[in-house]
């Protein structure tokens, strides 16, 4: 038996769904020290155990759900979990996170992570409680949405609201919609790259973990408590807008700054954005605070609509990206309808970003006569039609009629429809799509979305002190050189946070302080450089996996509409395409990747302790 571990449990719960077999895998401290947990550990399993050339729906694909060494501690937001798999939308690596309580309860049950392989002969859910796990029949849960599934499982197992965390798939995941997500704890979403479809392909409806009586043992509880307090205090003072308002105020900046997606990127003007701002919505609608584990912020609220046709609708307050998706992107001007659509998408179990690019594209096709009401199974897909949008989303989730094609994602659907419709799809060459922003006003995010190995953003600059990354305090958002340098030099910071695992918003990606937290929790001496190396290890492993799968650099570019030139707003006339090649070259070079193939160079792999990949 190895030395006693602190922070991490060193145990991974392994589940072979084909065989119905469950066992514990014990990791040594050296492995944990190198890969930490969450994203980085999940990516290690992906690369070690999955053939990059296999299909995402192959039972040999793994679905990793991981907490990490800070999970379940006093560090705010440490109930967060990271999902790693070979994603359905790009058929390449995928890493996506959800906040809430699951990570904490899993740690309390004695595990750092759960790793699924195989596919069940019939629908199951996994129930974990006090160090024990069992697969249970889930056939009676089929067709239930994600909120219903959560309630049903808690009900049948006799748990109350905060004593169990359940993450499940909805109809979209059951029907293998390529952008299905995994949703739990009342609206926390692991949204990206079709992780819900992977779960559906394994016939796994849900994972439920009871709170349990265990706790996470740490080396220096007093010190960790002090650091946790400091993290909260810094968030309160330095990032007050998110601490007090979550992302609900972002729309008030996005529109005037030119990065609000409006009408499928055909304009940047949406004066009605003021109706959606948190200051107004929280004053008009009924709200109730619903924060995550150990988080005192006012980010997450439950919300009841009190005006308009959806009066009485109850759900979670939309995040900025959901307001953007179900307001301006589909040119819909009623915040109550946006609350309804945001929650219905969560309940159906889909990624709101991809769903909104699909719906916006359909609406533009409808306006231009490319798609008719008959094509769309009778739905009148005029801009802003919330009821028709709901009908279309249900058709997608159940793969009914035209929804079956749309369930493949906007890139595939546009290519099938062909002609001018192809030019209207917002996506990358790999098939993934942007977050809920107009990246023509945020070049760094467009670059990052295109070069990402996760199927979603891989870099987060929000709150970062760019100075410690050797960058100017504020980058010129339209300079190819500064943008590509910022994306490359900060790469790894987000993956480190996602390997601990905690929440970027409440910790502000403060790597130096998080290193101190790791030391207090585990006893490991980790400095800023090492933290960044851990994150970059995850990025380069995913990169390696995706290239072995067949990714080529020519796919790392934005679609015609995604990279089009804004026709109005403060970014009017700025065009990214003439700079694209320079951006990519500079980025590859700074990342230590081959400029022709995009593959990490041997010296890059060596520097990250990944020399075992060099011979492959």
């Amino acid at each position: 038996m190895g030395a006693k571990l602190y922070g991490a449990t060193g145990k991974v719960l392994r589940v072979d769904l084909s065989q119905g077999r469950i066992w514990e895998e014990v990791l040594d401290e050296a492995t944990l020290r190198k890969y930490f947990g969450g994203t980085c550990l999940g990516v290690k399993y992906l690369c070690d155990e999955v053939d990059p050339k296999s299909d995402w729906s192959d039972p040999q694909n793994r679905l990793f759900i991981g907490s990490g060494p800070l999970g379940g501690t006093r560090v705010p937001g440490s109930g967060t979990i990271s999902f790693v798999t070979k994603g359905a939308l790009t058929n390449a690596a995928s890493s996506t996170q959800a906040n809430g309580f699951f990570g904490t309860f899993l740690k309390f049950c004695g595990f750092d992570a759960v790793l699924f392989q195989g596919a069940a002969p019939d629908w199951k859910y996994l129930y974990i409680h006090n160090g024990v796990a069992e697969l249970r029949d889930a056939r009676h849960l089929l067709g239930q949405d994600t909120w219903q599934t959560e309630e049903s499982i808690k009900g049948e197992l006799g748990y109350t609201e905060r004593n169990m965390s359940v993450f499940s798939i909805g109809p979209a995941g059951e029907n293998l919609v390529k952008f299905a997500g995994i949703i739990g704890d009342r609206g926390h979403v692991a949204a990206h790259n079709g992780v819900g479809a992977v779960m559906g392909s394994k016939k796994l409806k849900a994972i439920a973990v009871a709170r349990g009586k265990g706790k996470v043992e740490v080396v220096d509880d007093k010190q960790l408590t002090a650091i946790a307090k400091q993290l909260v205090e810094s968030a309160r003072t330095e990032a007050g807008v998110v601490f007090h308002w979550g992302t609900s105020r972002a729309i008030s900046v996005a529109e005037p700054a030119g990065w609000l997606p409006v009408k499928n990127y055909t304009t940047n003007a949406f004066p009605e954005h003021e109706l959606f701002v948190g200051d107004r919505v929280r004053a008009v609608f009924e709200t109730k605070s619903y924060p995550c584990w150990a988080c005192p912020s006012h980010h997450r609220e439950l919300m009841k609509v009190t005006e308009g046709p959806y009066t009485g609708y109850f759900g979670k307050e939309p995040e900025y990206e959901q307001w953007a998706a179900w307001g301006p992107q589909i040119y819909q001007k009623d915040p109550g309808a946006a609350v309804m659509l945001s929650n219905e998408v969560d309940r159906l179990g889909m990624d709101a970003n991809e769903a909104s690019w699909v719906v916006g594209w359909v609406m533009e096709c409808y306006e231009k006569g490319i798609l008719t009401q008959k094509d769309l199974d009778g739905l009148e897909m005029t801009w802003g039609n919330a009821d028709a949008t709901l009908g279309l989303l249900k058709n997608i989730a159940h793969r009914r009629g035209f929804g079956n094609l749309l369930a493949e994602g906007v890139k595939y659907a546009a290519e099938k429809v062909g002609g001018e419709a192809v030019n209207m799809a917002i996506c990358t060459g790999k098939g993934n799509t942007p977050r809920g922003h107009d990246h023509r006003g945020k070049w760094w995010e467009m670059l990052d979305t295109c070069v990402s190995n996760t199927g979603t953003l891989e870099t987060q600059l929000l709150f970062l002190d760019l100075g410690i990354y050797g960058l100017p305090k504020q980058i010129d958002p339209f300079s190819w050189e500064q943008v590509s340098a910022a994306v490359a030099k900060t790469k790894g910071a987000l993956q480190f946070v996602d390997s601990l695992v905690t929440c970027w918003f409440i910790t502000r990606g403060d790597l130096p302080l998080l290193c101190q937290a790791v030391k207090a929790a585990t006893g490991w001496d980790v400095d800023f450089e090492e933290a960044l190396r851990v994150g970059r290890r995850a990025v380069n492993l995913m990169r390696f996996f995706s290239i072995k799968r067949g990714l080529t650099p020519d796919l790392e570019q934005p679609s015609h509409r995604y990279a089009s030139t804004p026709v109005d707003g403060p970014v009017k006339g700025r065009t990214i395409l003439p700079h694209w090649q320079q951006m990519i070259s500079n980025y590859y070079q700074l990342m230590g990747w081959d400029k022709e193939t995009g593959l990490p160079l041997p010296e890059t792999l060596r520097e990250l302790g990944l020399e075992h990949l060099i011979a492959d």
């Binding site: 105020r249 900046v253 700054a257 701002v277 009623d334 006003g441 760019l466 305090k473 339209f478 009017k572």
Partner: protein
């Protein structure tokens, strides 16, 4: 009833001789718009933009204007400038006549009569 039509684009307009000199004595006037939660720095709340009419000397650059306003509004100074009050803090973004000002060089652009300068939080997430 659905909420539709016009958003409440109410503005809080302040027309003033901001920097101690009247327009008409060789000064020019520019409009300054303050957007979103940056209005908190001016103790203004509610929807819409805060609009200020500022009299400045000809040749005043955007950066000079920020410095002048920072002298007058200490909370704005805290948001806009670094601790030494010499450089931008990285927390605000600037739009000149509806077009994004992205580089430091552009901040040295001399302002003209009737220019509209918009300040907003440099928030990139959400």
């Amino acid at each position: 009833m659905a909420i539709s039509g016009e958003a409440t684009q109410t503005s809080d307009e302040v027309s003033s001789k901001q920097f101690g000199t009247d327009v008409g004595s060789g000064m020019i006037e520019v409009t300054v718009e303050i957007v979103s939660w940056l209005k908190d720095a001016f103790d203004k709340k509610g929807p819409g933009r805060l609009i200020l009419h500022e009299a400045i000397a000809p040749g005043t650059s955007i950066m000079d204007l920020i410095q002048l306003m920072a002298d007058k509004y200490p909370k704005f100074a805290k948001e806009a400038l670094d601790d030494r009050k010499q450089e931008l803090s990285g927390s605000i973004a600037v739009i000149l006549n509806g077009s994004f000002v992205s580089s430091l060089a552009e901040l040295n652009t001399g302002l003209k009569e009737g220019d509209i300068v918009t300040f907003l939080p440099a928030f990139s997430g959400g």
